[in-house]
Amino acid sequence: MTNSVVKEPSMLLQKDMISGHYSKLARAEETGNTVAYTFVPGNLTELMLAFDMLPVHPEINALQNGMRKLSGEYIAEAERAGHSEDVCTYVKCDIGMSLKGNIGPTGEKMPPPNLLLLSYTGCFTFMKWFELLRERYDCATTMLHVPYQAEGHITKDARDYVVKQLREVTIPALEKASGKRYDEDRLREYLARSAKAEDDLVWVLESAKHTPSPIDAYFGGVYYIGPLFTAFRGTEAAVEYYQALRKEVQSRIENGEGPLTPEGQMRDQRFRLVVEGPPNWTHFREFWKMFYDEGAVVVASSYTKVGGLYDRGFRHDPDRPLESLAEYCLGCYTNLNLPSRVDLLVDYVNDYQADGFLVNSVKSCDSFSSGQLVMLREIEKRTGLPGAFIETDLVDPRYFSAANVRNRLESYFQMLSQKRATAVTS
């Protein structure tokens, strides 16, 4: 099966971008590039690029290691070193990788950070994670405190707080780590390109409003968000990637085609779903198969918004560089309060004409998972649709029980069919 995996051209393009980035990282020391470690939600890629710093995203390394079946050993290594079995496996996978020589998912060595840029957005674990890495690398660390959207909107106080930190803490830290001066015009150029790519990403994500949907907005979606959520936002490569992706999706719409799965074109779309929560990475393909085998296509997901809620209108703005970066950080999905998350998912169910919705609750992530059962009931109440609830983990292979997940999914799909059948007869 592994040999004959079907991939979209845009996926191949992205694969090249990613491996290019990893080799750049591997050569960072010889080329004299400085490196900043940072997280996806609330990432300040344009700002880092404006200082010629190369970003490393520990959670991307972890999920890549998960997909490449390396995470189990890394997690075990971290647990042997005294990390609790109870805590986030992204962290343990990352620490384990570092303990085992910091060889990245592509087999190339990861450079140590010149700076830990802690954009503390929507996840408390980020803070502990970088405290742990700081101790390992004993390097410069800068904290950007991004307040939570507790009131359901971005307040002026919160934005001012973030902007002031960017100006007085983050930028000086980047200057110091990179040895370069802050050039706001350069930042504006990156931001302008970001906005362009963001337009195309939104177009792609919203293409799922078509029937049949030309994309899977979860399993495919995690590929589509890749460049914009990581090291490429603001680059010409990202702009080109999204243009290519858009063309691909456009042609599927014109041909009435469904998304491409690893086993080829998905034909029969029996269920349109909205999904909340990150995917499982260790059994990603097996997990996806459980959906497309049953004719289930995901039309919208919250996970594809962890690096920005572009579909709700936000764009990086070259005319308001720091303000828009602040609003970006504050606006990520992980930074929304529970009632806002419920509102968003209810809107998705309605706007994308979903037949049902599913919560994939991951053990690792309290930020996502804590409260999901309450969200589930609230969404059921507001949409009148039954929801499904399954439990897996991000990168802990011990926590993916295929039989268990399949059992729930099958039951759920059969329930939807049964309800549909009785709705037709009565």
Binding site: P386, Y399, S411, M415, Q418
Partner: protein, 451 residues
Amino acid sequence: MKCYTGIDLGSTTTKAVVLDADGHVLGRGITNSRSNYDVACDVARAEALTDARFNLFGHELGDSPRLAERRDDFLALLRRNFRLEQYLVQLGHLGERCVMLAERMEMEGARMRPVDAVKKIFEDMHTEAANLFAPGAKLRSDFFRDLAGSRYAALAKYLARQKNLDFEALIGVYDKSIIPVENTIGGSSFQTMLDAAVRRTLSDGLVSGMESELEHALSRTLATNLIEAVSVGTGYGRARLPFPKERIRSEILCHGLGAHATFPDTRTVLDIGGQDTKAIQVDEHGVVTSFQMNDRCAAGCGRYLGYIAEEMNLGLHELGPMAMQSKRTVRINSTCTVFAGAELRDRLSSGQRREDILDGLHRAIMLRAMSLLARSGGVANEFSFTGGVAKNPAAVRALRGLVQESYGDRTINISPESIYMGALGAAIFALREHTPGKEVLLTTSGGTQWS
């Protein structure tokens, strides 16, 4: 006669229900699940068909006025004798295997020479078999594995002590032999075993002088051909059932439908099986509207009770009645299977009474079930409790109390056949497959209701 079978392959037991074309239950069968799923499935189906035959036979007997008044006693005895015959056939297979294995051990130069001991054990087991199934004798289990296993262990223990033999080695012989034996279907036909059972029953004299009428009824019963038109599979192991995909239904749907068919006013179903607990909401047609299953943790499932029984060295069936003796429930907060043993010993050593701890455990399990029910949308009226654990009186008592506390008055339905709900639902799906749109009305033995 066309019949429709539903098979529920659970983690501990496999159940089958056979319906006729009108949706009447013809028979039910159960066996322990085992590594070979096909065999488990075939055995359950064969048991259900056997049960169907006996039920048909009962009808035939009812037609004869002279036989009618002794019918129930006769049938009960016949069933026992039939089970004895089944037991003897399987015991024969098991004995052969065990002796063979023992001989091989001796050939390979084992320190102990087990052949004579094993032969002796099986001789004794054959001799005492009739007593096991005698009227009034209480069977510890319905399954050959458990019955034979406990007798073998007892006899081996006795012999080992008497002859100074290695008990563990003797048990090893059994353990290695039982799996292949229960994973192959025995050669004896239903007819052969029934004939033997009839002979045995007639010798009892209960129906002397009516032999010819009996024979007549029997031949009429055997003349009825039971033809399986459609069968549908469900249960935890359904993906491994030898059924095409379209003949497989999720256990959620089957349990919902089974409960609806048995108690048509059911709106909420709680099913506690060996491996998982399910809370299901159904509409007035038995269509599932929402469901929740327990999370990955096995705490609060039937398996947990099995574990406790093992720790306390009790039979699973004995837990509930013992807990019912409790006067003062002990509060137990953890239903973690991993810690259960340690916690039990800790509590026993601190002087808490066994029945009080057990009662607390039952309450703790039912608390988990209540959470699941709350997740699925609560407890509506009427409420049906199904699955193996529904047979446990202490579990039922705890549940009734908790439902009253949280939801007030609810009609709680529990059927003596509640372990068959999933298989029943599957059988109804099988019937619908054959006659689409058919609304099945069930005439089962009903069940008990509490308000």
